[in-house]
């Protein structure tokens, strides 16, 4: 029965095709994922992959990888990337350019912002169903907190807590403010 099962296993899944995107924001970019649901052989390998494209000045909101390390290979363009550890220390704060590889350990928080020419990448993740937990936006941990927990935790008025919770309606990819309105670093 091997020829009916193992030998004919589906080993390929195209995640580069924009029309196959799993997450798409018209102004900001797209993300496609291959995991053990879309490509069952990945259950054996216990790996998955994410292919992303950020348009000019777009932002992949701060997030952490819940159950996997992530090794990011830059395919095209440039992005400002920051990675933060459990002590709140910035362990990476640099530009990621085409051809470069960056390892983001499990649970470390990361944010990416594309430069003018946009940014494309592929991430290899060390779990067959790698999951991401966003820190901002509609599906974020901050949004899931009661307003008053946030207000007390940050010592801010409830109005500010509400703004932090609800001002961003997108879930993952967002359009960044024009660079002229951002304070210089």
């Amino acid at each position: 029965g091997l020829e009916e099962t193992i030998c004919t296993l589906r080993l390929r899944e195209n995640i580069g095709d924009p029309s196959r995107a799993d997450i798409y924001t018209e102004e900001a970019g797209r993300i496609s994922t291959a995991n053990s649901h879309t490509l069952p052989v990945l259950r054996w390998l216990q790996l998955s992959a994410e292919r992303g494209a950020l348009y000019s000045d777009a932002l992949y909101v701060p997030h952490w990888n819940l159950n996997a390390h992530s090794v990011v290979y830059a395919l095209r363009g440039r992005a400002e990337v920051q990675v933060v550890d459990n002590f709140g220390q910035t362990v990476f704060d640099d530009e990621l350019r085409e051809g470069q590889l960056l390892t983001i350990p499990q649970n470390f928080a990361v944010v990416k912002r594309a430069r003018n020419e946009g940014f494309e990448w592929v991430s290899f993740k060390t779990n067959e169903n790698a999951m991401v937990s966003p820190l901002a936006g509609r599906t974020s941990a901050i949004r899931a907190l009661p307003e008053e927990v946030l207000a007390n935790a940050l010592q801010i008025p409830r109005e500010d807590a509400r703004r932090l919770k609800f001002n961003r309606q997108e879930s993952t990819l967002v359009r960044s403010r024009p660079s002229s309105s951002r304070s210089s670093r």
Binding site: D85, V91, K165
Partner: protein, 291 residues
């Protein structure tokens, strides 16, 4: 990853007291040294937290799954599963009850993920990487012992227990205090060297995950002004990981008992106490037969 029981060349086992103690604004965090051979052998780390009434343990996630036992007290906890809907919603009526000053229809009503009640004797499971918070809504301190299974398959980092805070400026619960003060001082120096004088800085010097990002990034991500975004970094917050909720009790959306249900529950509680008392008496009488 270290194989489980890989460091078990133990000649003698010892009962251990916590070796590190941190006093927070509304509680105490005591931890056992995770580098102790016994814990290395078992691949676990243990921490005991005491949360005073009206104390809030700040939202956090860790690199290993945790099992928490409530030694005493009662409270509520929120577990923030990514992508799950906010199923607890404030009604228009509730909104005006909680916040009479904010009755304008244009205001967004609050909603958040499920809240769970806990009391003495409960075990609570927190999956690795899933953020959670706890609040003591009782009259007595909550004492909770948490075990982190650092060699669990869910943890792909090293065996060090790591807590990632989403707010506040907490200390590392598993590092001795002297070492923490030294490292904090060193970090502040590095920070000032990199970013100039305090006040001009973009990035926070706190310890939560937001403090490592530029405030600009956060302002973009949350669609708020830079000043509000900077509050996420909790730079000058000295309350540590358990903070006191100001004034009244924490107002969150949660189902409450009706009067009948409350009475029924109290009756059941009294019956349970009577039963366990009679079990204790019986076991004292039959103690000799025990092996």
């Amino acid at each position: 990853q270290q194989p489980r029981f890989g460091e078990c060349k133990l000649k003698r086992l010892v009962a251990l007291e916590p070796s590190n103690r941190i006093e927070a604004e509304a509680g105490v965090i005591e931890s056992w040294d995770p580098n102790n051979q016994q814990f290395q052998c078992a691949g676990v780390a243990v921490v005991r937290r005491t949360i005073e009434p009206n104390g809030l343990l700040l939202p956090q996630y860790s690199n290993a799954p945790q099992l928490l036992y409530i030694v005493k007290g009662r409270g509520i906890t929120g577990v923030l599963f990514p992508g799950c809907p906010e199923t607890f919603e404030e009604s228009q009526q509730g909104q005006s009850r909680i916040r009479p000053s904010l009755r304008s229809a244009s205001f967004q009503r609050d909603r958040h993920q499920k809240i769970r009640h806990f009391r003495e004797g409960d075990v609570i499971a927190f999956p690795a990487g899933v953020a959670h918070w706890c609040y003591n809504d009782g009259d007595t301190p909550v004492v909770a012992v948490a075990l982190m299974d650092t060699t669990n398959n869910a943890n792909q980092l090293d065996q060090n227990p790591r807590n990632f805070y989403l707010a506040g400026n907490p200390d590392d619960e598993f590092r001795p205090q002297g070492q923490q003060e030294y490292e904090q001082h060193r970090r502040q120096q590095q920070h000032q060297q990199r970013h100039g004088e305090p006040g001009q800085q973009q990035r926070g010097s706190g310890n939560n995950v937001f403090s490592g990002f530029d405030a600009d990034f956060l302002a973009d991500a949350f669609n708020v002004d830079t000043e509000t975004a900077r509050r996420l970094q909790s730079e000058n917050d000295h309350r540590r990981s358990i903070v006191r909720v100001e004034g009244r009790q924490l107002q969150v959306i949660r189902p409450r008992w009706s009067r009948e249900e409350q009475e029924r529950e109290e009756r059941k509680e009294r019956e349970r106490e009577r039963e366990s008392e009679s079990e204790r008496r019986q076991s004292r009488r039959g103690g000799r037969d025990d092996n």
